[in-house]
C-alpha cells in the first residue's frame, strides 16, 4: 500500500484538474497567503473543498503558511477555528510557532512537517514528535540514505517527493511583484503566468514568494529501489503547475507504483516521455544521491540506495 499526494492551492485547480491519481491532497499554497482563493487562507474556500474531496474518498491535509509573522498568526488562528469541524486528516506546518496553535485549536490532529520546516536529523524528528508531528517532509537537501536513516531512527513517517520542481527558497516578499513592479493584492494575473529566471546554464522557476528548481525532480527510474526500501508515502510537487502537469505526473506515477507493487514490468521509457512532454527544462534527481540538485544520474551507475 502506498499514498500518493500533492498540493492544490485553491478552488480553480480543484474544479479544473482531474485528481483521480492522488490518494491525498494538501490543501493550500503555503508560500503565499495572497494566492487567489488560497485554501491556506480562506475558510470559505477550504470548507467546500474538503467536503468535495471527502466525497471523492480523498484524504485532506490543510497546509498552513510557511513563514508567518506575528501579524499573520491572527488570521491563521481564525482559519483553524473555522476548520475545527472539518474532517481533516492532518495539518501541514512549516513553522515551529504554529505547532502549539494547531494543538491548542485542533487537538491531537496529526501534524505533518513541511519542507521548509528544515528537518535534517532524526534527533529533530524525535523532538517534533512530542509536539504532535507524525509525518515529515525532510529538507530537500537530504540524500535518500539520510532520509531512510531518519525514518529508521525516529517515530515519524517520512514523505518522499518523487517528482516536480523542488522548492529551493522562500521569501517574505514576492519575487514576481519585485521584478515586474506589479502591485501586491492585484497579482492574480501574475500568478497565472509562467515566470522563469535564467543565468547562463542555470534556470529557476518563480512562483511569487518561492523559487523552485528549473528542472523537474524525477525518480521514476528508481521507484523499484524506493519501494524495496519500504518507503510508501510519495508526493509530487505541483505548486505553480498547469492542470496537464498535475494530471500527467499523477497518472504516470500511480501506474508505475502499481506496476512496481505487483512486480510488473516498468515501462520507464514510455512514462519518461510523458513526463518530459510536460517538463519545461528537463529532469534531475534533486539531492537524493548526494550531488548537486540539478544533476540526473543513470540508475546503472548507482549502487543500491539502502
Amino acid at each position: 500500500m502506498f499514498e500518493l499526494s500533492t498540493h492544490i492551492p485553491g478552488p480553480r485547480q480543484l474544479h479544473e484538474i482531474d485528481l483521480s491519481a492522488y490518494d491525498a491532497l494538501y490543501l493550500g499554497d503555503y508560500t503565499c497567503p495572497l494566492y487567489p482563493g488560497n485554501f491556506s487562507r480562506n475558510i470559505e474556500t477550504l470548507s467546500p473543498a474538503v467536503e468535495r474531496l471527502k466525497s471523492m474518498g480523498k484524504r485532506c491535509y490543510l497546509s498552513l503558511y510557511a513563514i508567518p509573522k506575528d501579524s499573520d498568526l491572527v488570521w491563521i488562528r481564525e482559519l483553524l477555528y473555522g476548520a475545527r469541524d472539518l474532517p481533516l486528516d492532518g495539518v501541514e506546518v512549516h513553522n515551529m510557532g504554529l505547532l502549539g496553535i494547531v494543538r491548542e485549536i485542533l487537538g491531537d490532529i496529526p501534524i505533518h512537517l513541511g519542507v521548509f520546516g528544515n528537518l535534517y536529523t532524526h534527533e529533530t524528528a524525535r523532538v517534533l514528535k512530542t509536539y504532535g508531528v507524525e509525518r515529515v517532509f525532510p529538507n530537500a537537501e537530504l540524500s535518500l540514505e539520510e532520509l531512510i536513516y531518519v525514518r529508521d531512527h525516529s517515530p515519524v513517517d517520512v514523505v518522499v517527493p518523487l517528482h516536480g520542481k523542488i522548492p529551493l527558497a522562500i521569501s517574505g516578499t514576492c519575487f514576481v511583484t519585485d521584478y515586474t513592479g506589479q502591485v501586491p493584492l492585484h497579482c492574480e494575473e501574475s500568478c497565472s503566468q509562467g515566470h522563469w529566471l535564467t543565468h547562463e546554464e542555470w534556470e529557476l522557476k518563480s512562483i511569487g514568494r518561492a523559487n523552485l528548481s528549473g528542472k523537474d525532480l524525477c525518480m521514476l527510474e528508481y521507484l523499484d529501489r524506493l519501494v524495496q526500501s519500504d518507503l510508501n508515502l510519495f508526493y509530487i510537487y505541483t505548486l505553480g503547475e498547469t492542470g496537464a502537469y498535475v494530471e500527467t505526473a499523477g497518472r504516470v506515477y500511480r501506474e508505475a507504483l502499481q506496476k512496481v507493487g505487483s512486480n510488473g514490468e516498468v515501462s520507464a521509457a514510455r512514462w519518461l516521455d510523458q513526463l518530459r512532454s510536460v517538463s519545461h527544462s528537463g529532469l534531475c534527481n534533486g539531492f537524493y544521491f548526494g550531488v548537486s540538485g540539478q544533476e540526473y544520474l543513470s540508475p546503472q551507475t548507482l549502487s543500491p540506495i539502502a
Partner: protein, 318 residues
Amino acid sequence: MTKLMAPGGTRRMAFSVLEAGADTVYVGVRGWSRRGSDTELTDAEVQDLCAAARAQGKHVRVVLNTMPSSTEVPLLLKKVDMYAGWGVTGFMISDIGSMVQVRSHFPDITIHVSVGAGLSNALEVKFYHELGASVVILPYRMGIEDVRAIKRSLDVGLEVFLFRTENLDGIVCPGKCTMSSYFSSNRWLDNEGKDYFYGSANRGGDCLRVCQVGWNATVDEHNLDGLIGLKGNPKLWLQELSDYIQAGVDYFKVPGRDRSDELVRDIVSFYRHVVDDLKCSPTDEVTARYDLELQELKKRWASERRKRDDRLVARAKG
C-alpha cells in the same frame, strides 16, 4: 547590559576584535559553520583564543550552525565537550535535535539559536526557548516592535545583527534557501568524519551566492528588460540602535567573518564607541554624529562584498 559580539573569521581577526572592544568573539570551526574553511578556525586556534579571551574577562562563542546529518550529531556533541573544556561558554546552533542534545548534556552552556533556524515570529522564539535556547538570533525581517513584544512576554536573550536589508521583509529567508547547492555541490569527509557539503548554505561549506548573479526574467516567454538579483544585500545600520538597547537586546552582532581583518576591526571599534555613547545618552543626536563614519564603512563593506560574491560565484560555475 547589551554586549557587542564580533566575528573571528581568522585568528588575527579574532584577536583584533577583542582588542577593538568586542565583549564576545564568535568563531566558526572547520566544517561546522555556515562558511567556508578559509573563514573558520582550527581547533588549536580556538584553544589559543579561549586563553586570550579569558585573560581579558571576555567570552568565546563557537558557531556549530550547519544542519548536520543524523549520524554527525554524536560528533557535534564531542566537539562541544572539547570546546567547553577549553573555556568556550556558548554555541550557535541551528538544528533543533542537536540543540536539545547539547542542552541535555551541557545544562550550563549558553545556546544561541542561529539565524540559520529561520525564525519568523514570537511563538517560534518561545518554542526554541522552551527547548533550552538561551539566546535567539533574530532575522532581519523582525524589527524593533518584535523585539519589544518578545521581551515583554519571554525571559529569553535576544541577539540582533548590526546589518540588515532595507526592506525588513527580507528577500530570501535565512535558513530557507537551497539554491546554491542545487547548482553546485561538492562533498568530502575530514579526518573526524565530518561531511563538508560544500556549496550548501544550510549544511556548511559556503553558500556560493548564486542569488547575486544577474538573472534574466521571462514571463510567459516574454523577456523582461534588465537583470535582477534574488536577494537584497544587508547593510550596516545605526538608526533605532538606541531603541534596541532600551528594548533590552542582549547582543548586537557585528557580521563579517568573510571580510578583511582590518574592516571588521574598524567596524567593531566604531560600534563600540556608538554603543557606549548611547548607553550614556540614548538620543538620535548621538547616532547622527556617527553617520559620516558609517557611510565610509558601508562603502568598504559593499566593495568587499562584491569581491567575495564574485569569488564564490566563480567557484559555483567552476
